[in-house]
Amino acid sequence: MIMKRISMAIAVLVMALLAADGLYAASVYKIGGIFSSTGRASFLGDPEQKTMEMMIEKINAAGGIDGVKLEAVIYDSEGDPAKAVSAVNKLLHKDKVLAIIGPSTTPTTLAIVNFVERAQVPLISCAAGVKITSPVKPWVFKTAQSDLLAVAAVYQHMKARGIKKIGVLTVSNSFGESGKHQLLNQAKDFGLEVVQADSFGAKDTDMTAQLTKIKAAGPDAIVCWGTNPGPAVVAKNVKQLKIDLPLYQSHGVASPKFIELAGDAANGIILPTGKILVTGLLDGSDPQRAILEDYQKDYNAMYNANVSGFGGYAYDAVNLLAGALKGSGGDKNKIRDALESTQGHMGTTGEFNFSAQDHNGLSPKAFVMVEIQNGTWKLIK
């Protein structure tokens, strides 16, 4: 008798909860976010999270999408794939989000793609690794420029300078490995020969051994592919070893923090970057300039901090998703199809033209080459 009463009570409770859940889901669109807001990659995740929060607030202030407000559920992955997996499970099963923005890094993104594929929830990653969208996975998109395009931009510049032999130094994590793969693969297309390829650990304190080895191989230039702080140590070591070769870095260090870390050693370093870093130097006719200035004004007003290119990935992701949400009625399949057919979307990173074969949608034009001079960026035309 008592058992029966208890089970009745439970049944009533469950029904009530389910009903409440149903009501709740209809009144908002829940969007998940996974960013490495703390940890080594916080320089990526922190501005991304802030940008996403800012954009959601802005969209809600303008009345939401089709009259439905957005709600952001954001988790911190700490740059750790294991934590990203637990975050994605929470988003998919507990929060039941419509779509996910992030994660910030390639390893964390690759760790969760299988989960979103299985759950059939659209994911817009803010990470650069080419493996994320190649081969194309139906539910996975990304807004950051692929390292494929970054390497192409660097090699084009080298070719124009008459460089023939290069030494490659990459960080031994996903970003570096993916970059190394692209650097080695594309070299031939630009008539370049990789004479020495080395790697360093993300937390190494000294890279002179690797640089000595590269120097001994006699290259015309050195390419370092990594994210802070390793490449700053490489920049210092190059100066200390008096290696008088052009040093190229990746877009992974395209932030003022790199100049601060490397100090004088940053001078003369050439790297590809999204246009956001050099907004003030762009031509007035550049179609991205107005969007970039808008974003910077909003971000500055809200956080009293300067923008970085990384926050721009989240800016584009939220805007793309907002576009796809329009008229979807909260149907994940419709959101996915709308994302895939997005054409000519001008974002902070570049012009997005998605298709069934391309879930990144950018061209090498999304990159410009800059040189660091006297602690600031100079656009190379």
């Binding site: 916080s42 320089f43 304190t205 002179t208 080895k213 702080p229 140590v233 870390l261």
Partner: protein, 291 residues
């Protein structure tokens, strides 16, 4: 040839850092039989304190170094008083777990205090690198090696020649007997903690200018220091020192001559080999076994 010399220079620099960390670990082990897995975090505290005192507050260099050291020692004292002593009667494994917990706590506190971004600290002296046989030697490397030798020598002198030091060794050999002869063994343990964490902070102070400092830099350095101490023989001061240098040089030569991808693996393969062939470490004293 020129390359080999360069590898040696790099190796000795990193090795000297490992040596300072290992000396601190080893000295704590010899006086309290405790392995402090939070040691690496004290390295972080030293490096980050340099960022605050020298770069942000612009104190003069000697004052900044002293302040960073004092911070490391003070935190060590607090750590002993509030975390270790309260669990004194426990199984050694409990104490080790406490140090692991302390390491996570310190890392978290470091993140709150200094933020998540890495920082850079300028070199102690702004000289150009010196060229020897075509290889470049950084002035900071000379500072590090001199600092490491000075520190190990100082601790050696303290343990062998001063009354307090001898009392500390006595405690390590037999705590009860030392207590019976009037040595305050608890105070000795506190002192050992302060010196050991101070060593950690010094390693951080020296390493800050050659690399980037951030709140999570300590873990891998602590592990490498632990490797070095094991290689040299836990509890042996000069053994730990030699272990550190050996580890640094082998890492650098391994990265240069074999493959840079194997750099970290070398440390741990070496550790496994040593534990297999000579469990007591390369330079362990014969009387390492206590009565």
């Amino acid at each position: 040839m020129q390359e080999i010399i360069q590898y040696l220079f790099s190796g000795i620099t990193t090795g000297a850092i490992y040596a300072v960390i290992a000396v601190g670990l080893s000295m704590l082990y010899s006086s309290t039989e405790l392995i402090n897995f939070a040691h690496g975090e004290f390295v972080m505290v030293g490096a980050m304190a340099m960022v605050t005192f020298w770069v942000h507050l612009a104190w003069p260099l000697p004052l900044a170094i002293l302040a960073a050291m004092a911070l490391g020692c003070t935190l060590g004292l607090l750590f002993e008083r509030f975390a270790i002593r309260t669990a004194k009667a426990s199984n050694p494994i409990v104490l080790v777990i406490i140090t692991v917990g302390a390491s996570i706590f310190l890392r978290g506190t470091g993140m709150l205090a200094w933020g998540k971004d890495p920082f850079s600290v300028p070199s102690f002296s702004s000289h150009e690198s010196i060229e020897i046989l075509g290889a470049a030697l950084l002035p900071q490397s000379i500072w590090i090696v001199l600092g490491a030798i000075g520190l190990a020598g100082g601790i050696h002198f303290f343990l062998k020649k001063t009354l307090t030091g001898k009392a500390m060794v006595a405690c390590a050999v037999n705590q009860k007997a030392a207590w019976l002869s009037g040595i305050p063994s608890e105070r000795m343990a506190v002192l050992a903690f302060a010196i050991s964490t101070g060593c950690g902070a010094i390693a951080g102070i020296f390493i800050a200018p050659i690399t980037m400092s951030s709140y999570d830099m300590g873990t891998i350095l602590g592990l490498k220091g632990f490797c070095a101490a094991m290689i040299g023989g836990l509890g042996s001061l000069w053994g730990a020192f030699a272990g550190g240098i050996l580890l640094g040089v082998l890492e650098s030569l391994g990265a240069g001559l074999i493959s840079s991808g194997l750099k970290d693996a070398i440390a741990f393969i070496l550790l496994l080999l040593i534990l297999y062939i000579r469990p007591g470490g390369l330079f362990a004293a014969k009387e390492a076994k206590r009565f």
